[in-house]
């Protein structure tokens, strides 16, 4: 039995957003593309468990998120301060993100706990509802809401602190902080 072309097209239509989510989660384009490929291999191998007419993006995001999580847990056992090293990597080699102009913002994003980061991205960028994000992350809606709030507050702190103490934020971050005021 070949894959229904309509289902195949739904999968392909989700890929751009799935990649953006993967890059936001792991920071490296190459790793993110590996993650997307692995997600698609797994999804297409188990396409029977997808109910036509239900939410294809949410289904694929759930698979990718779970793959990322299990990989992250594996690496965490190997490297204690995985979060710290990840943030350092972004700072030292912003070009590895492939998007230098968002370097400062990505570095701040990388400092968030991963559960807060994924919640913020799902709701704030991917456009999922709180309910969909909760289903993807396998937690309560209230939990997603509080993670998103904490992520926003922490991000604001990180970006403000950078501007005052370092006095060297990049252009994109300065634009964030200038906020339409003077200058």
């Amino acid at each position: 039995m070949k894959l229904d072309p309509a289902i195949r097209d739904q999968v392909l239509a989700t890929v751009p957003s799935l990649r953006a989510f993967a890059i936001s989660l792991c920071g490296h384009v190459d790793r993110a593309d590996d993650l997307v490929q692995e997600t698609l291999l797994r999804a297409l191998a188990h396409i029977d468990s997808f109910e036509p007419g239900t939410n294809m993006p949410a289904w694929l995001f759930t698979i990718l998120r779970n793959l990322f999580r299990s990989e992250y847990r594996k690496r965490r056992r190997e490297v204690e301060d995985a979060d710290g090293r990840y943030a350092d990597t972004l700072k030292t080699h912003p070009e590895q993100t492939g998007r230098v102009e968002f370097g400062e913002f990505r570095a701040a994003l990388a400092k968030l706990p991963s559960d807060q980061r994924e919640a913020l991205i799902l709701v704030g960028a991917s456009g999922f509802s709180y309910e969909e994000a909760a289903a993807i992350c396998g937690c309560a809606v209230g939990t997603i809401k509080s993670r998103v709030n904490r992520a926003r507050t922490r991000l604001a702190d990180l970006l403000s602190i950078d501007s005052i103490d370092d006095f060297g934020p990049d252009r994109a971050t300065r634009a964030v902080l200038a906020g339409g005021g003077r200058n």
Partner: protein, 82 residues
């Protein structure tokens, strides 16, 4: 600590003497708190824009050729892909 006072303010009003932080160099009340709240809200709005801009930049790249090839190849295969 920066009180906002400048060196050439010679004779501050008497009531400024014990709490100089509450007035700026022009003897206007300093309203740090209000502007911080405003900045906070402004920063939040910009964070949302920045997040979406960063994300959409990747979305705009579309489907990389190798991924499109992979999906098409797998979807032509029989059951039991893996």
């Amino acid at each position: 600590m920066n009180t906002g006072k400048t060196a050439n303010v010679e004779t501050p009003a008497p009531d400024d003497a014990d709490k100089p932080e509450t007035r700026d160099a022009m003897s206007r009340p300093v309203t740090h708190r209000k502007s911080e709240v405003r900045l906070g809200r402004e920063v939040q709005a910009r964070i949302g824009q920045q997040l979406r801009a960063m994300y959409d930049e990747v979305v705009k790249e579309g489907v990389p050729q190798h991924i499109s090839d992979l999906v098409r190849r797998l979807s032509e295969q029989d059951d039991g892909v893996a």
